[in-house]
Subunit: 95 residues, 4 copies
């Protein structure tokens, strides 16, 4: 079922760059807490990290549909991939 | 307006422990991408990190209301803090 | 534990007006489906209704903190109300 | 670009039944407010309606991918549909 190359292969560097920036934002949150920064300012930054994570998810989702799902449909075997996709969107929407 | 001690002071270690774990999860995501793991598995893990971030936000929110907002209300000066709180919840819900 | 007047009492008409508008939006969705409108257009309208519901939730939340939670804190009995509030925000964020 | 039959055609009755139930839930919210029900109870019900809306969205999304997007990909014209899909998911996640 798994392709040997994931859908984000062509965007791998972009995905990694975003994840490294998110890692930096999470370390920034630790510094804010260490420095006893005001709760609301920390919360604002948590929301920013959440938003950045969602952007990565949407990029991965787009590449997944554009490659893995597209390939499966072309091979006449899209049904399972479509269900799997809906479940992934559900986890993202409800998390 | 800002108290010298933020609402999460008594939970500072718990907040930091959660943030360090989230940092580890984000590094885990980078490893998954590095190893060309399947898109849907990466997405599932992104949703897990998003959920962990929301848990930190809810902890910070609880402590903020329990201390900062409570103190402001007792001092007869809660109006601004309540508006600020609603805006923080809005950023969290809409991000 | 329950006050005889809910926190949204002064905004009752505004809350009802928003809920009636949301009811109209949901009936509009039924018409769109009846008329076989394009999936993405229906989905865009579903997202708009979701956003309108969140606005009502944020209004109710604001009034609840500004009245019910504030009154409980002034009466020296805020702890339970603060936990209840955090749980309500959690249901909203995770739903 | 638009098919004459939307992706949810086979599920039209199920979609309509869900939308009517959501309409009933929104009227139930109006009754709760009319009866001065406790803020937190109203908020809990708002979260339930939001969750029901998301379920409709996920059903529409699934049928859209399973029919409209699949047909476009088979016709060798999936690129635009995939971008449109990602944007719809983004509106849903961020709303």
């Amino acid at each position: 079922m798994m392709a040997s190359m994931p859908g984000y292969t062509n965007d791998k560097e972009a995905v990694q760059a975003r994840l490294r920036r998110i890692e930096g934002q999470v370390r920034g949150l630790q510094r804010m807490v260490e420095e006893d920064r005001y709760c609301i300012d920390v919360l604002t930054q948590v929301s920013a990290v959440k938003s950045a994570l969602e952007s990565v998810a949407l990029l991965l989702l787009n590449e997944h549909v554009d490659h893995c799902v597209t390939d499966a449909i072309r091979a006449g075997d899209g049904t399972e991939k479509v269900q799997e996709l809906t479940q992934a969107v559900e986890r993202l929407v409800r998390s």
